[in-house]
Symmetry: C2
Subunit: 328 residues, 2 copies
């Protein structure tokens, strides 16, 4: 599959997460021709993680039967506030020691290829907007529900990142000022109410209180190694408790969307991330109904709320879109 001319016409998109690193090699058409995955091991410190990122890029390139010389650019989504111009991660709350890390510079030195870094929510929204929706919606909000809740905003067809390059932190909209504590220190943030972490906490608390659920049959009483897919299995087998918890999270996602629609008036709201990938069939109708209930009259007219089909690949696809755009 290698280009015999050796021309640098492929792009690498990379999704740097708190637990795993995912890289993909893409053609100019955004067709993915090879991927690689490594665990992040952020507890080892900043330098080792940067080395793992470089290795993951190389693994994906090798998987696609290419060499680094054939890569025009690498686009990375990083979890936290990112200075795009400098390619610097200003602050990544879920990664140990990641404060003011010159990721672009370090990787360019190791790989010899231009590297561009953006916030992971922004990158995933960019991937969905360009690759899945063909850049048609003028204003779009991407909501990615996983361990936390990330977001990305497209305004007038472009990624919008605001004054401090921190816009799109929708997981920390406050929806219930007296609600459960969030990792950020506040109470009742969107991600403290509707992320996978929030759902799992509610399920574990219920089990501790004597709630009956098929999950304990499936995984044992301590629910170790619980995953989003297990929730889907339990619901499909008629587990009312899990159904209720997941429905509650879907309602909060609907309320979060209503707030975002009231403030930003997007044309499309797209949902992605691990929780949506596993549970879209179970959650989407409740999400859409609740969003319509809570949004102001007139604001939802013609607005589409859809689940992305890119799943876990939204981040690497967006990274490739960024790399392609920046190496023009």
């Amino acid at each position: 599959m290698a280009d015999s001319t050796g021309k640098a016409e492929y792009f690498v998109g990379l999704d740097l997460g708190g637990t795993k690193i995912l890289a993909g090699v893409f053609k100019h058409s955004l067709e993915c021709i090879g991927t690689a995955k490594l665990s992040t091991k952020s507890q080892r410190g900043v330098e080792p993680v940067i080395e793992r990122v470089a290795r993951c890029v190389q693994d994906a390139v090798d998987e696609a039967d290419l060499t680094l010389k054939q890569i025009a650019a690498v686009g990375i989504g990083a979890p936290g506030a990112v200075d795009f111009a400098e390619g610097r991660v200003i602050f990544a709350p879920n990664m140990e020691g990641w404060k003011d890390v010159p990721l672009k510079k370090a990787l360019e030195k190791q790989l010899g290829v231009p590297v561009f870094v953006e916030n992971d929510g922004n990158i995933a929204a960019l991937g969905v907007h360009v690759a899945e929706l063909k850049a048609k919606p003028k204003h779009l909000i991407g909501i990615f529900v996983g361990t936390g809740i990330g977001g990305g905003i497209i305004i007038n067809g472009d990624l919008y990142s605001g004054f401090n390059h921190t816009a799109g932190e929708i997981g920390h909209m406050i929806l219930d000022v007296n609600g459960p504590k969030c990792g950020c220190g506040n109470k009742g943030c969107f991600e403290a109410l509707a992320s996978r972490t929030a759902i799992f906490q509610q399920i574990k608390a219920g089990v501790k209180d004597g709630q009956k659920t098929l999950l304990t049959e499936m995984l044992g009483a301590d629910l170790s190694d619980l995953r989003s897919g297990d929730l889907r299995k339990a619901i499909r087998r008629g587990d009312k408790f899990v159904d209720k918890v997941v429905e509650g999270a879907a309602e909060y996602i609907g309320i979060g969307i209503a707030t975002l629609v009231n403030v930003l008036g997007p044309e499309v709201v797209v949902l992605g991330g691990g929780v949506m990938e596993a549970l879209a069939d179970e959650m989407m109708s409740v999400i859409i109904e609740t969003a319509n209930d809570y949004a102001m009259p007139g604001t939802m007219k013609g607005v589409e709320i859809v689940a992305s089909k890119l799943g876990d690949n939204a981040g690497i696809t967006g990274g490739a879109v960024l790399a392609r755009r920046e190496s023009k």
Copy 2:
């Protein structure tokens, strides 16, 4: 003060509210040279209100010693969702019967002058951005705290109104999903927690429960004709109850700002409206402190939170800015 050549080089800005109509005549430099004010009397129906709007424009023009022939355009801020291209008020919740009203067309017929209509929060934000801040901030959010809470968003130097022209409905961000009921039917909207209406309700409920306050000395036990300025007077005379209620509202405004900063990353947040005009000295330090407490690390760096000096004139000034821009 009339231009002896009779050239149409003045602009009228008009603020159409649920209780009053305010109009101002402006020079190209945005200096205001005459104003007029009428009550709205929205209970009389749509047509009579449109006639009052036309009369208010004429009164302001007369006040400035001009004639309508010297007016290049009229810019109007209307309360609700507005179709700017058509100059149509789609829906105005606080005005009886205002659904799909062709305000531009009706007024142009009556006045013989080009008329442009925008949402009132958008218009006020535009007025503050251009006239007060000299259009310097690239991204700005205007928050106007009065009977309700209105908003306007400037992105990349331009008014942003989104897909359905409804963006900026920040009064209906949900901050406390189990909170007090809002006029829109939901619970815990920003304006149900921090508007003048919310503050007055809390004070009246407290008095009913036997709370002691100087306000009953000042206004009688039923607190008829209570105004924002009375709260300031009571606080300055040491009224702890009023102080506490106003501080609570200021905290919610800070939480609302934190949510907006997390999502939108503005450079400047500007506060206006009747409540801020009366109580900025009492509220601003609590607002700023709370916003900094609740916003994500890094998002508030260099972000200014300021009280507008335009006060009640933000709307008419913004109307003039719109009229000037559109008649270029």
